[in-house]
Each structure stands twice: as C-alpha cells, then as structure tokens.
Amino acid sequence: MSNRIYMDNHATTPMDQRVLDAMLPYFTEKYGNSGSRNHAFGWEAEAGVDQARERIAKLINAKPKEIIFTSGATESDNIALKSVVEFYREKGNHIITATTEHKAILDVCKSLERKGLAEVTYLPVDKQGLIDLDQLRAAITDKTILISIMHANNEIGVIQPIHEIGKIAKEKGVLFHSDATQGVGKVPVDVEAMGIDLMSFSGHKMYGPKGIGGLYVRARNPRVRLSPMIEGGGQERGMRSGTLNVPGIVGLGRACELAGEEMQEESARLLRLRERLRKALMDDLGDTYLNGHPTERLPGNLNISFEFVEGESLLMGLKDIAVSSGSACTSATLEPSYVLKALGVGDELAHTSIRFGLGRFNTEEEVDRVAERVVSEVTRLREMSPLYEMAKEGIDLKSYNWARD
C-alpha cells in the first residue's frame, strides 16, 4: 500500500496534518454551536469561525463578512447562479458562461434554461482552452445579469483571463462569478484586482476537509444581493441557513492560511516537477500531445494524449498510480471528455488522454517513478494497438473506412 502514488490532486487532495490538528479540538472540546450567543461554548466556536473567515478573506483579498460557508463548490456554484437569477430577474435573465465549465455550472445553467428562468450563452474556447474576450463582449446584452467564467479548469488546468473578464463585467455593469475551486490556494487569486463579484471555492481541493466550501459575495461596489436557496435559522446573514460546520470551517481557514504562506515556494516547486514530468513523457515517447495552454495553466496540471493507447487501459496498467483519464470508459456517460471536445481535440485523441494532478505531497522521486511507469506501459500497449501498427504501415487512420456499428 505504501508504494501507491497519488497524482490526482484535481479530484481531491489529501488533508494536511496541520489542518487536522487545527480541527480536532472543535469536535470534542470546543463543540459549541457558533450561533449560541449566551454561553462560552458558543463563543469559542464562534471565535474559531471568525478566525477562519479572516484567514480565508486574507488569502483572496476579501473582507471576512464577504465569505459565506457552504458544503462545497457545487453548492456555491448553485447558489451563485440560482440566487442571482432569482434576485435580479427584473433586471434581466441572461447568463454568459463557457463550454468548458464544471458540471456544477453547466447543469445548473441547463436546468435554469429548462425551467424558463434564464437564457444562457455558452462561449466556445480556442484550441488552448481560452475564451475570446471579444466574443464575451459581443455576447453581453441589456438582459445580461451574470458572467460566470471559471478561474482554472479542472481537467486541463487552463486559467482564463480573469482580470480582463472582470474589467469587461465592470464596464458593462454585469455581475461576475468565477468558479475558482481549482485555483484558490494554488495561485494568487485577488477578488479586488480581478473584479470578481462572486467566487466559489472548496476545502478538499486545497488540503482541507471535504464537505466544506465557500462563496465569496461582494459587499460593496457593487453590493451583490442574493435570494437565499436554503432557508431556516438565518445563519450567514440569511444567505445560507444551517448550523455552521465549525470543525470544517476551522479546517478550511487553516488550509487557506497554509496555502497563502507557502504558495510562492510551492507553486514554483510544482511547476518544476510538472515540467520534469512533461519532458520525461513527451521527450521519450513520440505521438504525444499536450492538451490545454502550455503556460496559462495551474502549475500542478499536466494533461497529455498518448496517441494509439486508450486511456482506461493505461490507467489499468498504472495500477498503483492514481491519475485520471478523459477516456469515455472512465465516465458515467460513456462519452469522452466534453472539455477536450470543446478544445477541438478529436474523440480518438480524447480517449487517449491522461490527467496528472501534482500536489503538495508529491516528490521528485514519485514524478520519476510515474514517468518511468507511464513510458513503459504506453510502449507495451502500443505494441498491442492495431492503430499503432496501421499508422506505422502508413495507413491514414482518419480516412480509413472503419466498420462502425
């Protein structure tokens, strides 16, 4: 078991021991309800929550009261979209988003459309995964109430031009939400400098606990108003009721604090490891393709198509190594990655893609072991691949008359 290597840090991250240490007292000693105003148990819990709010706010350059705690980024995305649509419905009903967003955005948009509550424009992306700012500008109408464009993509790590999007949103007086689940804690995110009005993030993507996340909601210039989706005890200024998950919040706060302290060094380290892995894989093996922008991406993300080798079969060969694939066989829908499709990557190459997600606990030794294993498995599977054989014989796989069922 100890030989296993975890390199799937976009799916989730292991929790940092220091985060756990910060959380533990809040389970069995400081277990008060942070809403109990009339005794010390409540005050202790509240102090923990307040400190966490400050730590989170500091990381993203927000004010503590602009942070709303949720169960994770999925909930934050749901609240951001649905609440804005409901609150601003007299102003308009048009949302602009992009085709490469996480399902927590896309599926909410689809359901809003289905219910007739919103009209949605899905901006395409270019071959490297970036939206076109002119297309964004052109898509804005007097009915547009919200632009929702993610910060870093969860499959290809590509980081959108958030500053520019924020500027355009300001210019046009449209609210700007960003799903920054993958970016917060990894690279600098500054809601003021970036002109972000609403932002989703999640604890388990930054070495914090699962089941806790947050939504940044701008309080001034402009003040963002939301209609509550979860009603009850009026916690979180009425925007999200429910007894606060105090240990989770404390963990998220500590995770943000650590990320802020170590970001500069850690992102440089990850970039170095990522490039080491990329070179080892792409220099040793021919017929490999990097998916997504080469530099506008998270330092820990690498997404490569290994032509002629189906992704799931490669994962199977990498037994003790946890990475993921854009292959259809690993998805519930049996469709290959819609993100890669949006970049114009053909299905035949999408099926061969592997996502490596490097994180805080990966070492150089692990990177070297992964590179060696991947090179040897790809080589083995290519020897077994009829496509590789045909390509070597000079057959054009694109124009070949496949017997499709």
Binding site: F308, V309, E310, E312, S313, M316, G317, S327, A328, C329, L334, P336, G346, D347, E348, H351, E383, M384, S385, P386, L387, Y388, E389, L397, W402, A403, R404, D405
Partner: protein, 137 residues
C-alpha cells in the same frame, strides 16, 4: 470499478498478441470498432482447408476489458471449426470474464471481430457468406 481476476490476467498477460500477414490465403482478418469510439479490435484467424482454426492473433486499442475480451477470444476459437467460432455469442464472453454491464459492448465487439475475420477468410476462399448465416441460424 474493480476488474475481475480473469480480466486482469488477460490484460496483464495477453495471449496471442501479434499479426499474421493478412495477404496469406489461409488468414482471415477482422477489424472492428473505430478510434473515435475508443475501441478497435483486430482479430486474425489462420484456418485450414478443412475449416479448422489453427491459430489466432489479436491487437486491440481499447479499455482493459476490450483487451481481455479479444485475448480471451483467441484462446476460445483455437482448434475450433469456423462454424463453431462463428456461432460464439458475446454472452459467453460476458459470463466467462465476469464483465460488468458497462463493458458488455467489449464482448459484442469481440463477437463481431470473430464474424468479420471468418467472413474475410470466406471471401478470400470464394465462399458465399450467406450460406454461413444459414448454417448457423
């Protein structure tokens, strides 16, 4: 998803990987699937004049279950008469390899590969394919 031991065994130690010269008279080649669907199987059968499958080779682009299904099929058909091989149903592959429902298409592809290889051999021999279906059906 966990794989069955048999699938793992065939994936790790695939039987009869390789190619025959597809121009040989006694070789039937079946290539089924398509790269954009994520599976392509090439199955080749070497068949005697008496219609017995002497040997088989495969190459597969696809998930572990697709590789295992094709490897397994090469073992299954060896020594059999073409008619018998042609009659192999995908359900047998599903059962023998313990394939989960999402992987049934791998077994279908393997069945198709056998049929395509046999048909190719028959065509080369100048035999009519329709007779084949009648005999089996």
């Amino acid at each position: 998803m966990a794989y069955s031991d048999k699938v793992i065994d065939h994936y790790e130690n695939p039987r009869n990987v390789g190619s025959f010269d597809k121009e040989e008279q006694d070789v039937g080649t079946g290539i089924v699937g398509a790269p954009e669907c994520g599976d392509v199987m090439k199955l080749q059968l070497k068949i005697t004049d008496a219609g017995v499958i002497e040997d088989a080779r495969f190459k597969t682009f696809g998930c572990g279950s697709a590789i295992a299904s094709s490897s397994y099929v090469t073992e299954l058909v060896k020594g059999r008469k073409v008619e018998e091989a042609y009659a192999i149903k995908n359900t047998q592959i599903v059962e023998d390899l313990n394939l989960p429902p999402v992987k049934i298409h791998c077994s279908v592809l393997a069945e198709d590969a056998i049929k395509a290889a046999v048909s190719d051999w028959r065509k080369r021999k100048g035999l009519d394919d329709e007779d084949q279906d009648k005999k089996v059906g």
